[in-house]
């Protein structure tokens, strides 16, 4: 691996993280998008070997027509394999398949000392565990071998219906865990009082028929330019959320989707981030563990609705207990809440600090891939394997995130 003299290096894929895990302002970025070759696709065994700059989108285009699928996909298909491993991304089926890293068989890791190490659960296991969810700090992944899962169709079947209370959400999640692979909910983050936590529940399974079309992509819509002010504000949010909530029928409606719009709804609107105006937004995703999940979620939602901040984009779901090998893997059994906050200055940061306090009290943590502002203390409290992880960091690698929250031991 070529080494440079000017500061720390960091691999960067498609730049879809929401914070500074993919930034390296004091050093050099190794952009991996040109490392986009497949090495091997075994359509019998369902295994794929590829370079780190391959997009999940490219993988699906290749494997879906042959009856295979990625076991875990995040909410966008426009991320690289390297990024998916480094952030140990998850999807709506966490309770079945765990994280992206759970389904990585092995990878070859280039270190700054010139070595190329094969890492798996059996070989260089500690480095394997550190690299999954390791935010790119353990070296450069040269190629990775992924396990695929068979599908009979590129369609999903399921239901979408609304629920009126947070209690209903937890009951639905519990009831759907065994019967449905993909479960997630949208929540009206402005709803208060006895409407607190109302939203829509979506659940689905891969269908048994319908063909193996790789994508149902029509012409993507695009936000052509950045409006001078955020189009997401208190007034527009209240109108949108109320209409959107009421639009969904109260009882179960069986539906069928191509996987593309179901799993990757945001990919159909290019540059959607521009809706938040020139100041942009902060993403916030936390998880609160099992027994605290209900009480802590209610507190979080109360805090958010009281503030009037938030966005129409809210995802709420239950993680299962499938363990990831990753030392810094984000998911844990419990409830996870993800949403955007248009940046309104200090009061947005103050709100997020209040949310942090609730998460910490409940023994939860925040997702580094979506963070741009958590404190070092918040990070350390949330990730008990941090000391083990620090021993595996490549001395030449670093990132904005690492300097911000892991600075102490370097």
């Amino acid at each position: 691996m070529p080494m440079l003299d000017d500061g720390p290096v960091l691999a960067r894929g498609n730049g879809r993280s929401y914070g500074d895990v993919c930034l390296n302002d004091e050093g050099t970025l190794l952009t991996t998008r040109a490392l986009d070759k497949f090495v091997l696709f075994d359509a019998e065994a369902g295994e794929l070997v590829c370079e780190p700059g391959v997009l999940l989108s490219d993988i699906l285009d290749l494997v879906v027509p042959k009856g295979w699928f990625l076991p875990v996909v995040p909410g966008t298909r426009l991320v690289t394999v390297g990024g998916a491993i480094a952030n140990d991304v998850h999807g709506k089926n966490h309770h079945r398949f765990g994280t992206f890293g759970t389904n990585v068989l092995d990878f070859r890791l280039l270190r700054s000392d010139g070595t190329a190490l094969t890492c798996s659960r059996d070989e260089n296991a500690e480095l394997f565990a550190a690299t999954i969810g390791g935010l790119g700090l353990t070296g450069l992944i040269a190629e990775a071998r992924l396990k695929l899962r068979p599908i009979a169709s590129s369609y999903l079947e399921g239901e979408q219906f609304r629920f009126d209370t947070l209690d209903e959400f937890f009951a639905l999640s519990e009831a759907s865990e065994a019967s449905h692979e993909y479960t997630a909910a949208w929540i009206d983050c402005l709803a208060e009082g006895d409407r607190l936590g109302r939203g829509h529940f979506m659940r689905a399974n891969h269908a048994a028929d319908g063909g193996l079309d790789p994508a149902a992509r029509s012409l993507p819509l695009a936000v052509p330019l950045t409006p001078p002010l955020s189009l997401v504000n208190r007034a527009s949010l209240r109108v949108f959320n109320t209409l959107y909530y009421e639009r969904q029928r109260a009882h179960e409606v069986s539906r069928r989707w191509h996987f593309d719009p179901y799993l990757f709804p945001l990919d159909s609107i290019a540059n959607w981030n521009r809706l938040y105006g020139p100041k942009g937004f902060l993403q916030y995703q936390c998880v609160v563990p099992g027994n605290e999940a209900r009480a802590a979620s209610a507190e979080l939602l109360k805090e958010i609705s009281r503030s009037g901040q938030g966005s129409p984009l809210v995802v709420f779901k239950m993680f299962g207990d499938v363990a990831s090998p990753g030392l810094l893997s984000f998911p844990m059994k419990g409830a996870t809440l993800a949403l955007d906050f248009p940046l309104l200055g200090e009061r947005t940061f103050e709100l997020l600090d209040r949310l942090d306090a609730i998460v910490r009290q409940a023994g939860g943590r925040l997702y580094p891939a979506k963070d741009a502002r958590m404190s070092a203390e918040m990070f350390e409290k949330g990730y008990p394997a941090l000391d083990r992880f620090m021993k595996q960091i490549d001395p030449v690698f670093g990132s904005g995130f690492q300097r911000r929250v892991m600075g102490r031991a370097r």
Partner: protein, 245 residues
């Protein structure tokens, strides 16, 4: 089954086109280029994407004497050639070729003489077969001489004129000669250039090529297509304006 030989197979545009041909199914490739490791990686990639076969022939295409033999080997390995893509080229350092005629001739060897020799050899093979698509990557830079890159443009001008003429000659023999003139393309060759709205990706250019070959098109292909209109204007622009381009 489609039998495809690519010269300069590690070039970004060639790789992108090869991927699209591989994904369409039934493609067999012979890949020619300098970097043996990179060729091997590309061959594996194409097979993973659906190619029936991809073999590699490491060769320095600046060695003009070997080109006839390479074409014959490719023809034999594939049992005929349906598509030949000539994609190699080097962006010369303009200061260097201005300062030294030797440097200029070396560059013309790679950018003009080598593709020209291949066009003749492949044209002969395809004429004998009675069919084939001969694709050569030229450039909009060959349409007008610009102060900053006349050496590169000069070589491409030769390929454009040769290709256009050969196409007219071989048309009746069932051979389609396609002269591709990409505009600004974001590839490793142009990694150091600042990019603007006129820039296209290698994928877009490859898409134009693959579409044109599927339709058995010959003649000149601007890629993306709107470069045709830009170059129409540039063709009539007076020298004092071209000087500022």
């Amino acid at each position: 089954m489609t039998r495809i030989v690519i010269f300069g197979a590690t070039s970004a545009i060639a790789q992108a086109a090869a991927r699209q041909w591989a994904a369409a199914g039934g493609a067999r490739f012979v890949l020619v280029g300098r970097n043996e490791t990179a060729l091997g990686d590309i061959a594996a990639d194409l097979v993973a994407r659906g190619a029936e076969e991809a073999t590699t022939k490491p060769a320095d295409l600046a060695a003009l004497d070997a080109l006839g033999g390479l074409c014959a080997e490719a023809e034999e390995a594939l049992g005929g050639i349906d598509i030949a893509l000539i994609a190699h080229g080097v962006l010369p350092d303009q200061a260097e070729v201005t300062a030294s005629a030797d440097a200029l001739l070396t560059n013309l060897g790679v950018n003009a003489l080598s593709p020209a020799a291949l066009m003749v050899e492949l044209g002969r093979i395809m004429k004998r077969q009675g069919h084939g698509n001969l694709v050569v990557i030229s450039s909009v830079a060959g349409d007008r001489g610009r102060p900053s890159n006349w050496a590169y443009g000069g070589a491409k001008a030769m390929l454009s004129v040769m290709g256009e003429g050969m196409g007219l000659e071989l048309d009746s023999a069932g051979v389609n000669v396609l002269v591709v003139k990409p505009g600004f393309v974001d590839t490793p060759m142009t990694a150091d250039f600042p990019k603007g709205p006129l820039w296209a990706s290698a994928d877009q250019v490859a898409g134009s090529i693959v579409r044109a070959v599927r339709r058995k098109r010959g003649g000149v292909l601007y890629a993306p297509g709107w470069w045709r209109w830009i170059m129409l204007v540039v063709a009539f622009a007076p020298g004092f304006l071209v000087k500022r381009l």
